[in-house]
Symmetry: C2
Subunit: 422 residues, 2 copies
């Protein structure tokens, strides 16, 4: 595939390259430059369009989109105890398949090409990925509130079966839910499993004040100090939230492969607090960006997260220069790709061809003063017309190539109605 004469976001360099041709060979970006002397059967006209690295949604719970707008404006424990857990207990694999497919569809329509999911079971997520054509890390949620061996077994089996599948689009690593849902012994076991099955770990860390207080009471350590004491941080760690990360914890993780995932909408809506993004970045941490699940966001729109991430932190810091547009765009692309150990996240020769194409003939990009600002502060997902994942077009003129969106909407509504009455 050859994209001709397009503007390109160079997310690492922090600039826009004009009039570029992008030649995609198979899964990879083979060549980028002006007026490439290459011919291809499939040519996309890039005039007045902007190529952006596909966003990496580094933290979500795909299946929970079924519970979107189901219970809002509630206290956290009331929300979980009275609404989410009772209905979650009734979920079957087909429900998870349809909920996951909807989350993936939403992500693609907002420019995300890769996710990091934590939910269960594994097979329906894999099936939805195969169908829609997205890239992602499936991290099987693990806890030993009840029998914790089931999820470990499922992860091992899933890893053997699916890791590296779909031309490498699928990866798996363990997803121990949190320190307050796992015993110390169980976490130690999961760490050993991770060393052999996936090589990294996805975990919620320091999301709420309650979590920190309980950790101090129980272990006399803050959450990150505690998991560090278990050896967990010797593995690359995708650490969802880190809202209440302390200066001492930053010292522990700053030289490790530790990727805090900032989930602005969810942290705000659940009143978890304000993640110290500026401080994390200043300490060299590669902060990633995520939507969290649709039951606490309530959407999977990465472009909206980018906007909110940038503006909220300026007010938190009382500094309009804090957490600049390009910094958030890096959080949403290259940092997330590195956290998940995938060779994407930037439009560069040799990287995987995961690209969103924005139409600049839009009010949101007018006037064309600064396209990096526009992406962060004024663009809308409606401007994303084409999405390419692994070298293949999955969204064209906002229509899915591989799935029927109307049928998906119908299926989700039927599933939720059935779930409530079940």
């Amino acid at each position: 595939m050859l994209i001709k004469n397009i503007s390109v976001l160079d997310v690492i360099g922090g600039k826009i390259l004009e009039h570029q041709d992008i030649y995609i060979d198979g899964q990879y970006i083979k060549k980028i430059g002006e007026n490439l002397n290459i011919e291809d059967d499939r040519v996309l006209d890039g005039e007045n369009k902007l190529a952006v690295p596909g966003f990496v949604n580094a933290h979500t719970h795909l299946g929970m989109s079924l519970f979107r707008n189901y219970a809002d404006d509630m206290e956290l424990m009331e929300w979980l105890g009275e609404k989410i857990w009772p209905i979650e207990a009734k979920l079957n694999p087909e429900d998870v398949y349809i909920g996951s497919l909807m989350s993936m569809a939403e992500m693609i329509k907002s420019g995300a090409t890769t996710f990091c999911d934590m939910y269960f079971p594994i097979e329906p997520v894999y099936r939805a990925m195969e169908e829609i054509g997205i890239r992602g890390a499936i991290t099987r949620g693990m806890m030993d509130v009840e029998d914790g061996s089931i999820s470990i077994r499922e992860h091992k089996e899933g890893y053997e079966k699916y890791n590296g599948a779909l031309d490498g689009r699928v990866t798996l690593f363990p997803g121990p839910h949190a320190i307050y849902t796992s015993s110390t012994e169980y976490l130690k076991e999961v760490i050993e499993v991770a060393k052999e099955y996936g090589g990294r770990i996805n975990i919620h860390l320091s999301e709420t004040e309650t979590e920190v207080r309980d950790s101090l009471e129980k272990y006399n350590m803050t959450p990150i100090e505690y998991v560090n004491s278990l050896g967990l941080l010797e593995l690359p760690t995708v650490a969802a939230h880190c809202v209440h990360i302390t200066d001492e914890e930053i010292e522990i993780v700053k030289d490790k492969e530790f990727y805090p995932v900032y989930n602005p909408s969810s942290n705000l809506k659940l009143a978890s607090g304000f993640t110290p993004v500026k401080k994390l970045l200043a300490n060299g941490l590669k902060v990633c960006l995520g939507t969290d699940g649709s039951s606490s966001n309530n959407n999977q729109n990465m472009l909206e997260e980018i906007h909110i991430a940038s503006i909220v932190n300026k007010a938190v810091e009382m500094d309009p220069k804090a957490v600049k547009a390009i910094e958030v765009l890096r959080m949403a692309t290259i940092n997330g790709a590195e956290a998940l150990n995938i060779n994407a996240g930037a439009i560069e020769e040799g990287r995987l061809a995961d690209i969103s194409i924005f139409d600049l003939n839009s009010l949101n990009f007018t006037p064309k003063n600064n396209l990096i600002s526009a992406l962060c502060y004024s663009a809308s997902s409606e401007d994303i017309k084409t999405v390419i994942i692994d070298g293949k077009i999955v969204l064209e003129d906002r229509k899915f190539v591989n799935i029927d969106e109307d049928k998906l909407i119908k299926d989700v509504n039927e599933t939720m109605n059935d779930l409530i009455s079940r």
Copy 2:
């Protein structure tokens, strides 16, 4: 016009009415009910659609959309002094016309049917309103940093000429910019002008810490105490921002016709701070919602403001029940209508027919768990297909009825290029 079988947001009652017919006669909603026995030439099928009162964007600077994405991630005074003021000085009426038209177009595409503008001059804004078909209050920006009599004269002339024009779609009242750009004598003069020409006042109040500090130094009063001492608050007041409003000030304004306008994106992006929305609402104040100008937002998307308004205040209050979805929807509709003294802001018999129609056959509204939550937390402006203002369709299937969007985009880009090189 007859809309058949549509879901309706009853924003005052805080509920969704199903299977309603809405009969619009001229400018007004004449009748609402199930299976109305009315025939009309023009029938809209409302099945699987949601009628929402047109949003009232209670604070913006329409013409400033030209400077969108022109200068971001900067200190406020550096932004104003080095970037905004020098280019603003070159603006001519045609620039303001084209910038205003773009802001109006963006608003309509995000469901807003009414604005409160503060800018200059008046005629180009009126002309853009006539062209696109929107409703709005034009408040001529006033200050006496230089000769303040010009803006007063322009307001009086504009009022005589345009107030009540376009079937009442246009209203005018004075817009003294702020206490730090007006002398005491000048503000007193503007108050007298307002009594005769418009009956209310639009002013920035307590936007930044600097404003409050300077006011205390200069007048030994906080900004709202100061304008109250001048008699300004005897008039209904549309008070943009109120980020740093004090408890004492709340006591002063709570029983007056005082409408604080919350501009979440702008307050966050400029690092002005966090407006105490929950406290204002708890004191019975009818808080309104605005986008502010596109140079500090950087868009005119009211739906995005609704979302951000709700979630940010939950984190500020550390309370997930703070500033609920329905409260923000009221801020964006009925409160704004009351602030501007227009008989719109709710879908009720006898009110002006300003209505946005959302397509529920969208991933963002799926599953259909709670449409009020969906509007606030997951809807996207892309879901707004039809917008009716003053009983007339101005947007149909996201295409403008009265203007050519492609031409507008071209014109804005040409205007900005010309402005920079001028």
